[in-house]
């Protein structure tokens, strides 16, 4: 009879200081040593982690009212526009937003040295940020202009809300073209000069729960150094599988999460602005998600090692920009981590864009929080759509293609 545990039982053990918690890296060795059944009995929680660029990130801010009051229809933070088409003195600063004066790619490849992601980092680091606001006047909101230097502690609420984070799996990007290209997957040299990938592999949250059996709405997580929650499925959440070895093995792919948390609790070590040459600016986000080991099957997925997790190799010189299907092969995360893979018979040096060492640090921090009894697991209010629902992305038909 295989073991079945409940969230309640695991939380009782956490409160009593008796829970056994391993990181997604540590559990691999434990399963190899003791087998699935024994490990499922012994281990209560597996902690995952990831730290990398996640463009679909941003924060809702409420600045507090001016005297006299103002609607704030247009808002800039350190000259980066924030979306203010919501209630008075609320705004959303998105990670990829740029100053109107940013030269972008006019001097190709552009630097994109400061964007919304950097504004968020500055706020979290406690640095002052210059607010500028404009509005039309109304009887209730007569003021039309305002400027202020504000710090995160000075404003009412700051809610990190990231509509699409934690991509379950991601392409290993390469370039088969004749010139260097500048992409959100980094700088890719011509003729398969290099490749970039961006997943923490065996530590990555959604690779370790491919059926979405435990990660759901309301799951309490590590977010940006503070506590956050899974709010919903992310945009473009189309979970499925990549098959390899003639369908003998499969790796989850296509799932995403929408995450929420209190920015004021977070730490700039785990939310850093980032710039990709020739592409744009973004935010590096640190996320750690606990997986409760409710049974052997959940453990079996949580304990998958890099050698059993695969990423697709995709050509960013043609098939990606032209939105064409097709890939140049599959590669395991174990092979990616060696730094050298084979594509079209050619040896290609590869490097990650997400930090494995930071991902590991997050998994350990989350483990410590749980061991200390500070962090209890939450049973999802509802589960997210899983791979069996067959969700597929829709392409946008433009007028010129009708």
């Amino acid at each position: 009879m295989s073991i079945e545990k409940t969230y309640k039982q695991i939380n009782e053990k956490i409160k009593a200081g008796k829970a056994v918690v391993l990181t997604a890296e540590e559990v691999i060795g434990r399963v190899m040593e003791k087998g699935l059944s024994q490990t499922a009995k012994e281990v209560d929680v597996v902690t995952t982690g990831t730290f990398g660029p996640m463009c679909s990130s941003g924060a809702f801010l409420n600045f507090g009212h001016t005297t006299p009051r103002m609607k704030m229809g247009k808002v800039w933070l350190n000259d980066v526009p924030a979306y203010a088409g919501i209630a008075a003195v609320d705004a959303y600063i998105g990670a990829t937003e740029l100053k109107e004066t940013d030269p972008r790619n006019n001097n190709h490849p552009g630097d994109f040295s400061y964007g919304g992601g950097h504004v968020i980092e500055d706020l979290v680091a406690g640095r002052p940020v210059k607010l500028r606001a404009e509005s039309y006047g109304t009887d209730c909101y007569p003021r039309r202009e305002a400027e202020a230097d504000l710090r995160l502690e000075d404003i009412n609420e700051a809610i990190l809300f990231n509509p699409r984070n934690c991509y379950q799996n991601y392409n290993c990007a390469v370039n088969t073209g004749d010139k260097t290209i500048y992409t959100y997957m980094g700088t890719l040299k011509a003729r398969l000069g290099n490749g970039h990938y961006s997943t923490s592999g065996q530590l990555s949250p959604l690779l370790k729960d491919p059926y979405f059996r435990t990660i759901g709405i309301g799951t309490r997580i590590f977010l940006g150094g503070g506590i956050g929650y899974v709010a919903w499925y992310g945009t473009q959440h189309f979970p499925g599988f990549i098959s390899y070895e003639d369908g003998q093995g499969k790796t989850g792919a296509g799932g995403t999460l929408s995450l929420i948390g209190d920015l004021k609790q977070m730490d700039a070590k785990w939310l850093t602005g980032a710039s990709f040459q020739g592409y744009g600016s973004t935010l590096n986000v640190g996320v750690g998600i606990p997986i409760p080991i409710l049974n052997e099957e959940i453990l079996a997925y949580a304990a998958k090692p890099d050698k059993d997790l695969y990423a697709p190799i995709v050509d960013y010189s043609s098939s990606y920009p032209n939105n064409e299907a097709g890939r140049l092969g599959l590669v395991s995360y174990a092979d990616l981590k060696t730094g050298l893979i084979k594509v079209n018979g050619k040896e290609v040096p590869v490097a990650p864009l997400s930090s494995y060492s930071r991902a590991k640090e997050i998994a350990h921090i989350l483990k410590d929080w749980i061991l200390k009894g500070d962090f209890l697991l939450t049973e999802p209010v509802d589960l997210l759509p899983g791979p069996d629902q067959g969700l597929k992305g829709k392409a946008l038909k433009t007028k010129d293609q009708e």
Binding site: F51, G52, P53, P109, D111, S113, G186, T187, K189, A190, R191, G193, N194, G195, H196, T272, G273, A274, S275, F276, Q277, T282, N284, K337, T338, G339, E347, P349, V350, A351, P352, L353, S354, S355, Y356, S357, R358, K360
Partner: protein, 133 residues
Amino acid sequence: MSPEKIVLRFSSENSDKPIIYHLAKDYDLIINIVKATINPHKEGTMVLELTGEKYNEGIEFLRQQGIKVDSLCQEIIRNEDKCTHCGACTVHCPTDALHMKRPEMEIVFNRAECIICQVCVGICPVKAMEVRI
């Protein structure tokens, strides 16, 4: 006259040309090759000390050949507080001065190997690589 220290960057189109021969023969320059590397994609980097009366003409010749010439009066430092150890720089560094330490997956910066090509400065997403003059 004290020698000028410079960095040459070759593309795959010009890395097979006998550049040093021409510098010596046609421009009568005294050349000390401090460091030279060529990567599998035939992109090369070379650090030279050059002396001679036709120094400026020699530099002009190099530029005409499509070789990027920079003076070596700077150094590159890594801002340890900023580096997130992602790895983006490692496949772009021509000398492996920046490389991934395995299995820790941490980035090591070996300044002795750095030829100040500055590629990492543009590549690093968090601007952890800084130029010091």
